[in-house]
Symmetry: C2
Subunit: 215 residues, 2 copies
């Protein structure tokens, strides 16, 4: 069985939980406090040299890392990974765009709010939020014209882009201002297999989970 | 025939040229001055709404975007994309890590040097270079133990990570300090199909290339 090392509020970890949900795959869950150093401890680094969550482990194998690459791996043999070569390219392009041009704005601004940095550095936060807004604009240009990022069918790219986009309200960006994107969010969350960002199994303790994998 | 919209010094564009070289694929080349706004012009945005280079176009189709996703697409049917599912996951994990944790340090520091920002903001540059150094440390931990990122064989991940890593000297990081990474660079550049970052066809004019694709 898989063990997901994640965090209840992280969109990156949510992507993996969405992929596991699509697969109907049960898993153990460990909540790791990455904001307070738990991913940088010697024990965690010995388990995952990338020092990050999410990490998806199976006993006896190195963990899978990088949220979009884990989601991709869980879904490559499913209909969420397109048959058409150009659609596959486009899928990965959106996922790389998410990590370079969307997550560092939308998710980072959200972590600033969580840590109170938005009040400490209001000007820098305003810039970050403007950039986040620009990322949503870029998605809106496409999603105002088609139901999903790769056309008419849900793909792994939609899961990866949804994870932080649907929480834009946390940084004061009301999705009503991006109606195509808002409708896309509603379309996705209506999928019968969908789970919310708050949905996860009861967490195991980190030390015990790491010790369990080492056995 | 493909038309590559790129830039002679950009590592992101170099990844695509390496993938084209591996495929032995001839292509037209357009040099785009992204540092001075050419990717944000209305004509360029009409061609590529992502407003970025590299973009790889074929007449009558939307361009392929995002360097790692283009390289992946060019190579998915070749031996540079592994057969083993866990190796594929690891390959994509390194490529996503490159875009989130390596390029924003190593490549951005290099662009600062190019624009003279390293002298204008020496403290911020020192921080950026320390982070770039940390990214090379992370690669070194693996490359001191194995010949390529995914084990014994070259993969698309090696091309994507090489592009900026081999230019760390441009930001004052001498690769002699990372002997495993340095040997990996030498191993890659000795491949018979390898091309250097300076190797590209004579550039076409941007306006003419865009007009040619529209026809």
């Amino acid at each position: 069985m898989y063990t997901l090392f994640g965090n209840a509020t992280s969109g990156n970890c949510y992507k993996v939980r969405l992929a596991l949900a699509y697969r109907g795959q049960p898993y153990r869950y460990v909540d790791v406090d990455s904001l307070h150093g738990q991913t940088r401890s010697p024990a965690f680094l010995a388990f995952n040299p990338f020092g990050k969550i999410p990490a998806l482990a199976q006993s006896g194998q190195p963990p899978m890392v990088e949220s979009n690459a884990i989601a991709w791996s869980l879904l490559e043999a499913t209909p969420l990974w397109p048959d058409d070569a150009r659609a596959r390219q486009s899928c990965l392009a959106w996922m790389f765009w998410e990590q370079y041009s969307h997550e560092p704005k939308v998710a980072v601004a959200r972590s600033w709010v969580k840590l109170g940095r938005d009040r400490e550095q209001p000007q820098a936060f305003a810039t970050l939020r403007d950039e986040a807004s620009g990322a949503l604009d870029h998605m809106e240009r496409l999603l105002s014209k088609q139901p999903y990022l790769i056309g008419d069918a849900v793909s792994v790219a939609d899961l990866c882009l949804y994870a932080y986009s649907h929480k834009a309200g946390d940084i004061g960006l009301d999705l009503a201002g991006w109606p195509g994107l808002q409708a896309w969010c509603q379309r996705l969350s209506a999928q019968p297999w969908w789970v919310t960002i708050d949905d996860h199994p009861t967490p195991l303790a980190l030390d015990e989970a790491l010790a369990g994998l080492a056995n």
